[in-house]
Amino acid sequence: MKIFQKIKKNYSKFERRDFLFAYLLILFPVAQFLVFWVFVNASSIALAFQDDFGKFTWNNFEAVKNAFVDQDLFGINLKDSLVRSWILWLVGEVICFPISLITTYVLTRKIVGHYVFRICYIIPSLMGAIIWTLLIKEMVRGEGPITLLVKNFGLDPYSNAATEGLLWDDATAFFTIVSVRAVMGLVGNNAVLTGAYTRVPNELFESAELDGAGFFTEMFKIAIPCIWPTICTLLTFALCSIFTCDYNVYLFTNGQGNFETSTIGFQLFNLTYQLREGNGSYGYPAALGVTLTVITLPVVLVGKAVLERMSENVEV
């Protein structure tokens, strides 16, 4: 009660009304956070340590270990899925992200036709993931244009890749997903990076030009350092998704993840989906989630610290 008296004493009626309004405004999102984040995650963590009867057990973690070493109880080897997740992550963040930094910069420097190129770049990132995935899926089907093109380069006409599509053959499926990932990696951050680049004052570039700096010197010495906080944010988010992002494997493969396409993110969903048909015991996928979180957390924290140390505070 003292706190109410203190508030009454220190704040006017109008100020108190404003506070109340502000608190009520955030009440809903806070409640939502507590229920759908805190409670759900706490429940998931608890599940990881329980058997079907709610008793404490380490068995779920033993199952996770077996899944990485050999096979899990559903015949799935998670090691292969993990390797594929990393490959996709590396392609996206280590290869494509630096390229997108360059291409976006080139487009923001208003080269001839930059509007056209920019629109071509931005459209895919504006489209929903499902639409984009369906579009690609149709293009790489047995009679899709990309498959027909690949056939012209000597693809066996009786192979699964030729009759069913590039996503339905061991030899081509994962490469196709990597290629899609690469394309999305190139265009995905374009909108954010364009915004960051355009905030860099033109005076800096003009001054550099007077000093005789070339196109790429301006880019590496002025533009990228100026947008470094944005890059750090994007890379930190990327680090968070090192395990969980499934790159739409579920949609691409009609929920099967076969032909060597499954990723860890896909398997997390797949396991839970499969178990829903049984008696609803989710201890194993919960333990897998906890394990991945425990591994990811230091990676993200260390990565973020390194990124921040690498950067200088740039005031633009």
Binding site: D51, R141, T163, E164, S281, Y284
Partner: protein, 572 residues
């Protein structure tokens, strides 16, 4: 001040609009004589429901009973309805749910909400006769009209009847008879006859070129998440045809003890995967899902694309494992082609013929003779003949002294039907104050009159009216109803039960390969065909070899993990 007024004006406008829409939604009043019904929009449409409402209100006009049907939706199923039932009548105002994808035990004493969510229908519905469209009661009780096969699906674990099964719907083989007629082939009744059709369609026959040239392939199917269950229904049915007792054991890991008591196979449950029934099923599976003879796209397509392949010619197919609901699903797009398709029960596994009549039996027939005799008996079973007539017919026309037990075994196998209808259950809200009126509505749904009306408007059958449907105008619907009307008809379903349910967490047939047809069609190279529309010179043993290999791998996998399964389930 101006801003404040503007805001007030905006809020007033929003409120008025919202109230207007709300009013639209609840324009029909609900009084004490009106029951509120929510119905799932399933493969049978909802025209029948509105007709039933009309008939019901006409019969009970004097009492003033009315039915308010909320907008049917696909969402009125599964957990959504369970949640609604939990909230109860006070919050939902709903008295009756005609729904799908809910197991009755989920609303009984073992519901997730620790309380009974639906009304016990034994007293309200099952112990009373159905009510005809003229308001008169039928002569028999509804419980007597309901097949005993269905009872487990409408009762909870304590045996209380909370559910009302409202449609009989089965998985089976869809055949495009227009395409099949070009090859001058008959609809197959055994798996060997099916494979004979595969051979002739794929390699060319009766003046029609091979599949690569003609664009007509033997089979198409779905391996993705939407519709992949159709292929699994076939595999389950094969096992139930071959050995019904083993089928029960397979899905429960339980066996009968010396005194008939149920004994859980706690130490050797994995041995069910080593049974000959599983091997015979796998041999058929490998030959059926041989990707060389499937219409291009079968591995990667969705359900609608597969059904299109059945209805059209370009890279089309003659056979598809589907269900008696397919006609309704393709009706809008292929209205003019609906007469091309037919529906029959799954072919009977030919290995059963060998088991009953082959070497080592009193008949001592060759494999070809076994299949011929099996097929002949199936014809008689399909004609709904009695066992005595079947035996006499076989003696007269085939010169074989058929033992009664063997005749019954073939009839039983042919009558096995994989039911999807038992997934369509209705429930009455436990605390509904209008249970008496809702019960009258359900009793009318159990009538022969409704059965006839449903067969026309829904192109389907109800579990309370097993008659051959000659009114729909489609041979597909008529032949589908013949399966149900046959005296040997029996239902199976596939879900882990008993000890298996406690131990394993999925309803997959196998544990190491969760979807056998997908695994085979995606990975197997075993085939007697080449990709050019002919044969590659291999013998049928290629399918047997891979079937044995997969069976061994699965048995070893489950055996090796047996202890881990038990540990994870808290059973060790």
């Amino acid at each position: 001040m101006k801003k404040g007024k503007g805001l007030a004006l905006l809020l007033a406008a929003v409120s008025l609009t919202t109230c207007g829409f709300t009013a639209c939604n609840n324009s029909e009043p609900v009084d004490g004589n009106t029951i509120v019904v929510k119905c799932v929009e399933a493969g049978f449409g909802t025209d029948w429901l509105y007709e039933l409402k009309g008939k019901f209100e006409a019969v009970y006009a004097e009492e003033g009973y009315k039915v308010k049907i909320m907008t049917p939706s696909r969402q009125i199923s599964g957990d959504t309805v369970i949640r609604d039932l939990y909230l109860g009548h006070q919050q939902t105002q709903t008295d009756l749910y005609i729904t799908a994808d809910i197991k009755t035990e989920k609303v009984g004493v073992n519901s997730d909400y620790q309380k009974v969510l639906a009304a016990d229908l034994q007293e309200y519905v099952y112990s009373k006769p159905a009510i005809s469209y003229n308001g008169e009661e039928e002569d028999v009780l509804i419980s007597d009209k309901l097949s005993s096969d269905i009872v487990p699906f409408v009762t909870d674990s304590q045996g209380v009847m909370y559910g009302f099964n409202w449609v009989q719907s089965s998985g089976g083989l869809v055949v495009n008879t227009r395409k099949l007629a070009k090859y001058n082939l008959e609809i197959p009744k055994t798996t060997n006859e099916l494979f004979d059709c595969f051979d002739k369609i794929y390699c060319g026959y009766n003046g029609v070129a091979n599949s690569v040239k003609s664009g007509t392939y033997p089979m198409t199917y779905v391996t993705g998440t939407n519709g992949q269950g159709y292929t699994v229904c076939f595999l389950n049915t094969l096992m139930a045809q071959y050995d019904p007792e083993f089928y029960e054991q397979f899905w429960s890991f339980e066996t009968a003890g010396d005194n008939g008591e149920v004994v859980a196979m706690t130490d050797n449950g994995y041995d069910v995967f080593n049974d000959e029934t599983v091997l015979e099923m796998l041999k058929v599976a490998y030959r059926t899902f041989d990707k060389n003879i499937a219409a291009p796209g079968s591995i990667s397509q969705e359900l609608n694309q597969a059904q299109t392949k059945m209805m059209t010619d370009k890279n089309g197919a003659v056979f598809m494992l589907n269900g008696d609901w397919m006609l309704n699903e393709v009706k809008l797009t292929y209205e003019d082609e609906l007469g091309d398709i037919d529906f029959v029960n799954y072919p009977v596994i030919s290995a059963l013929g060998v088991k009953l009549f082959g070497a080592g039996t009193t008949y001592n027939k060759s494999e070809a003779e076994c299949d011929e005799l099996l097929s002949y008996i199936i014809d008689l079973v399909d004609a709904n003949k009695n066992i005595e007539d079947i035996i006499a017919d076989v003696k007269e026309n085939k010169g074989v002294d058929l033992a009664e037990a063997d005749a019954k075994e073939v009839a039983r196998a042919r009558g096995v039907s994989y039911s999807r209808g038992v997934e369509h259950i209705g429930f009455m809200t436990a605390d509904s104050p209008k249970k008496d009126i809702a019960a009258l509505f359900l009793r009318m749904m159990a009538s022969d009159d409704f059965g006839k009306s449903f067969s026309v408007l829904g192109n389907g059958s109800t579990p309370y009216y097993a008659q051959i449907n000659t009114t729909s105008g489609y041979k597909f619907v008529e032949n589908a109803s013949k399966i149900v009307a046959n005296q040997y008809f029996s239902l199976i379903s596939a879900a882990s039960q008993g000890y298996r349910k406690q131990l394993l967490k999925t309803n997959s047939i196998f544990m190491s390969q969760t979807h056998i047809p997908t695994y085979i069609s995606s990975n197997s190279t075993a085939s007697i065909y080449n990709r050019e529309g002919g044969k590659n010179g291999s013998g049928l043993e290629v399918y047997t070899t891979v079937a044995k290999s997969l069976q061994k791998a699965e048995h070893t996998f489950v055996k090796n993990n047996w202890s881990q399964y038990k540990k994870q389930a808290g059973l060790e």
